[in-house]
């Protein structure tokens, strides 16, 4: 036979949590009507960056594809020709694909990139209805042209020489791209 406490008090006490929670702030997120910002270093969709004159930073070296544990990246390099310069230096990435059905957003590709061409944005809405639309091409991944940038192909426009080009940019963002590579 249950005691008085068990039969009367315990059911009420059980609701205590419910009553208490009723007066707290709700956790429910109103996604997709109300989008919450991610953590600043959240691993979202990739982006192929540009130099301030609009040339692509990607040199088509395929190190990202090499690093990728999910084999989600496909790159083909090509030669920068006279009058057809897409990036500084000899080589640029002619084909650049990331398959977001495979990508696990681990960020190893970002670590592998020797020119900081590949970084990750905070964009996390990576769902769609077809396989094709989830294989992002270079045109989908390239960073938008900011003011002062010019759509390649064009010649290098920062400084008179190749050295000036890179040294003119030794701000925080471009530091690992040159010079200290053998450290």
């Amino acid at each position: 036979m249950a005691s008085v406490k068990e039969s009367l008090w315990d059911p009420v006490a059980g609701f205590g949590v419910t009553f208490r929670t009723m007066f707290r702030k709700v956790f429910t997120e109103e996604y997709p009507f109300d989008k919450k910002p991610t953590a600043p270093r959240f691993h979202g969709r990739h982006q192929l960056n540009r130099w301030p004159d609009g040339l692509e930073k990607c040199i088509g070296c395929e190190l990202c594809a090499w690093a990728c544990p999910a084999d989600a990246i496909y790159v083909e390099g090509a030669d920068n020709t006279e009058g057809g310069r897409m990036s500084p230096g000899e080589r640029y990435g002619r084909v650049y694909q990331i398959n977001y059905l495979r990508c696990i957003l681990c960020g190893l590709c970002i670590e592998a990139c020797p020119t900081r061409a590949l970084t990750m944005t905070n964009e996390y809405e990576l769902a769609d209805r077809s396989r094709e639309s989830l294989i992002y091409e270079k045109k989908d991944l390239l960073a938008p042209l900011l003011p002062g940038m010019q759509e390649p192909p064009h010649e290098m426009q920062l400084g008179a020489s190749e050295k000036d080009y890179y040294l003119g940019l030794t701000g925080a963002a471009a530091a690992p791209a040159e010079g200290g590579g053998n450290k």
Binding site: I59, G60, C61, E62, W66, G77, E90, G181, N182, K183
Partner: protein
């Protein structure tokens, strides 16, 4: 590279009396005297880092990366400083300590690596060598992780073309001299050298002489850094996403071992394989770079049937049915032409198809100038003889006589082996030819002058050809080899004379054809008088043997028609089956085209659109070698099997298409895959019964018996052949076509070096700059199939034809 057997093998050790014992990292190894320390260490399983050292090149000690400590030089005294193990010959009792056990050697290597990296750019991500770079790898294994060099690196403009195919990036060069040593020692094209001194030392080319080499791709492959890269493979791929398949080159009869690297269903590059018996580690640029011919956009993808004069696509069953109906009706009056591209298995399938399904011996693989004498010679001396003269024999021969054969142009792998023999063993090379080509000069070859058409007379009596002929005759003996090429087919009596010369002198005789499939086609019986394995059509016993093996009641017993006769009789034949024949290779392309038009029914098995498919009634698309497996039999008689490189679903190799066609005709070929065809061919074996008699054709007139101008011609390695299509960088390295005449002839015509010369026949003319050189008078030499010089198409002429020459301004 000779290394003694280090395993427990008492008998071998007793045989080798010149073994010395050295101690490397406390391990005792026995190696032959004068072995280099770096090789001895390899025997002990110790890898010493190196850049300049290459087992097939002479030691140079240029890079200093292989430093080791030698505490005892074999005389009880140590060497005061670390030594380069790639130039250090071992002595008995020597003690060597490598980086494994010696901190001194390890520090020396680390220091040297740091030194090499001072001026080496850090552009590994854009460098084509990245990922398979000995410098990258050894910097990781034997280098410091940190650099102490913060000054400005030496820079050069990059990259520069040292030929159309080879790019040089001087910043990356570590001055190991592998490329320059290869060019000088192996290829013999020393137009590339180390120039300048000190920090500015660099690889350079002579500005006056272009770096023209048929072997430049090897320098790219052995470059231990990314200093030499190829224009064709520039930025195409990375080693990690390439799949490598060992295979065999299809451009000449040497069967060189190569490695095909593919990515996403497309071959990206080809590298030399390592086969000491055949091509060692070298291949020609054509074997390396010419592989795009099947992907240039004119590939046949589905069967085609001609209806009311127009070709229309058809399904395989429909096309097979259509062809089978006509061929069944044409049984006994049909002929087969198989070109030089076929594998042994494919050729065997065509051979059996002709006999079993078409009931005919009218089959010939020779889509080039040919003669009945050549067929007799092949039946008597080559077919069914198995592995005869080998590459090793070429290297060790005392003297070699070439007749109608240009090694560098027709079989570059043979050329390299000959050159090795000339350099290492003092082999003497004589050539019966109208002039000394650059290849022969690089072999230090002696020309026995023979105007075109007189080679037979010269071979019959070498002494008649002056001093050099007498010297050639003198040198021929049991350790000699006579090499005959396919060009002798244009010279009546030449094969007979060469055979007799071989018998008289005791020399070996080797036939080296130009194309990869020729020897295999011969062994498979793609000749009007030959059945597989060297069996003679006219030999009843051989026929009975084959009937039993094939399970047929009878085989045609009369010798069939050869290529020329088939084409001449095309109008009266009911059907013609053509596989991989290039019309412009035939002696008279116009007549061949007329024959194709005259033939009532033409079945074509082709990879790409060609002049044959334009006239075919049914076209079956077959696959190139990269998409099938099979065997090329090289000129030695060695079987060079290769696997499928690119797996293509529903690929139809010739053998499978023929099997389907035979089945459609209500008969059976007995196999439908290359493997099954090979098994049947092997079980058949070589014929051990009677062989054909040696041909005894009479030689033509001797030198000086004519006064009209004769044409001397041979094909260049890199020419307008369709197999070079899709590779502009390679084609750009072709030698500039010129006409060559003697001084006397030039005076007669009134031209000097550099003037234009017009060579003409009734069919047309060729206009080329002229080079005056030492050669018989009244002879003009032209490349057979180079740019602006298509001898067969323009002149309908051949080696030995009579032509007219005139100055270009006349």
């Amino acid at each position: 590279m000779t290394i003694a057997n280090n395993t427990v093998n008492p008998s071998a050790e007793v045989e080798r009396t010149d073994l010395v014992t050295v101690t490397i990292d406390d391990l005792e190894v026995k190696v032959p005297k004068n072995t280099l320390a770096i090789r001895a260490a390899e025997q002990a399983g110790i890898q010493i880092p190196r850049f300049c050292d290459h087992p097939l090149l002479e030691p140079v000690g240029a890079c200093r990366q292989c430093l080791v400590e030698v505490p005892d030089a074999g005389n009880g005294r140590g060497m005061p400083k670390p030594q380069a193990s790639c130039t250090l010959a071992v002595a008995d009792g020597m003690v060597i300590r490598t980086q494994v056990t010696s901190p001194v050697a390890d520090k020396a290597q680390h220091g040297n690596m740091e030194f090499l990296l001072i001026n080496h750019p850090l552009d590994c991500p854009v460098c084509d060598k990245g990922g398979e770079c000995p410098l990258q790898n050894q910097a990781m294994s034997n280098g410091y992780g940190e650099t102490r060099f913060h000054e400005i690196k030496r820079t050069f403009p990059k990259p520069i073309n040292i030929s159309a195919e080879v790019l040089l990036d001087r910043e990356r060069c570590v001055l190991c001299a592998r490329c320059t040593r290869f060019s000088e020692q192996i290829a013999g094209d020393p137009f590339i050298a180390l120039i300048e001194r000190g920090a500015l030392q660099q690889v350079g080319i002579y500005e006056k002489e272009p770096f023209e080499s048929y072997f430049s791709g090897n320098a790219i492959q052995i470059c231990p850094v990314g200093a030499l890269t190829s224009a064709a493979y520039r930025f195409r791929s990375r080693p990690f996403d390439l799949v490598s398949v060992p295979t065999v080159a299809e451009h000449d009869s040497s069967g060189a071992a190569i490695r095909a690297d593919y990515r996403r269903g497309k071959v990206m590059r080809r590298l030399s394989g390592d086969d000491p018996e055949v091509n060692e580690e070298w291949i020609s640029d054509r074997d390396r770079f010419a592989f795009n011919y099947a992907t240039t956009g004119d590939r046949l993808t589905h069967p085609l049937i001609r209806e009311d004069g127009e070709l229309r696509p058809a399904s395989w069953p429909e096309a097979l049915n259509f062809a089978a109906e006509k061929l069944t009706a044409a049984r006994g009056s049909a002929a087969v032409l198989t070109g030089g591209r076929l594998t042994l298995e494919d050729a065997y399938a065509y051979s059996k198809f002709a006999r079993v399904a078409l009931g005919s011996n009218d089959i010939d693989f020779r889509s080039r100038p040919h003669s009945p004498e050549e067929a007799d010679f092949l039946a008597a001396a080559v077919a069914g003889t198995g592995l005869g003269t080998t590459f090793g024999d070429l290297e060790r021969a005392g003297s070699i006589l070439l007749a109608g054969f240009e090694p560098e142009e027709e079989a570059p792998t043979v050329f390299l082996r000959l050159r090795k023999g000339v350099r290492k063993n003092g082999t003497k090379v004589f050539t019966v030819a109208s002039l000394a080509s650059r290849g022969v000069e690089k072999l230090s070859g002696v020309v026995v002058p023979a105007a075109p058409g007189t080679e037979a007379a010269v071979l019959a009596d070498l002494r008649s050809a002056g001093e050099t002929g007498a010297a050639a005759k003198e040198s021929l003996g049991a350790d000699s080899i006579i090499i005959v090429g396919e060009r002798l087919a244009s010279v009546p009596g030449a094969y007979s004379a060469a055979l007799r010369l071989a018998l008289d002198t005791g020399a070996q005789l080797a036939w080296i054809p130009r194309r990869a499939g020729d020897r295999g086609a011969l062994e498979a019986g793609c000749l009007p008088g030959l059945l597989p394995g060297g069996r003679l059509v006219t030999d009843p016993q051989a026929r009975v043997d084959l009937q039993a093996a094939w399970g047929v009641d009878s085989l045609p017993g009369t010798v069939g028609k050869d290529t020329g006769e088939i084409l001449a009789a095309a109008g009266s034949l009911q059907a013609l089956v053509v596989a991989g024949v290039e019309i412009d290779d035939l002696p008279d392309p116009a007549a061949a085209l007329a024959a194709l038009e005259a033939a009532p029914f033409v079945v074509s098995f082709e990879v790409r659109n060609s002049q044959v498919t334009e006239h075919a009634d049914v076209i079956f698309p077959v696959v190139p070698p990269a998409e099938k497996d099979g065997t090329f039999m090289n000129w030695e008689g060695r079987e060079r099997s290769f696997p499928v490189v690119l797996q293509v679903p529903a690929a139809m190799p010739d053998v499978r298409a023929l099997a389907a066609l035979t089945q459609e005709m209500g008969l059976s070929l007995g196999f439908s895959t290359a493997a099954a065809a090979k098994k049947e061919y092997d079980e058949l074996g070589r014929w051990d019964g009677d062989r054909a008699q040696e041909p005894t054709y009479q030689a033509g007139p001797a030198l000086g018996a004519f006064d009209s101008t004769r044409l001397s011609t041979w094909r260049m390695l890199i020419d307008d052949s369709r197999s070079n299509d899709g590779e502009p960088h390679l084609v750009a390295t072709a030698r500039k076509p010129v006409a060559k005449i003697s001084l006397t002839t030039s005076r007669r015509v009134g031209v000097t070096d550099g003037d234009e010369l017009v060579v003409s026949t009734d069919a047309g003319s060729i206009r080329l700059p002229v080079v005056v050189t030492a050669m018989p008078d009244n002879v003009v030499w032209l490349p057979t199939n180079s740019a602006d010089s298509h001898v067969r198409r323009s002149l309908h002429a051949d080696h030995g034809s009579i032509v007219t020459i005139a100055g270009g301004n006349a």
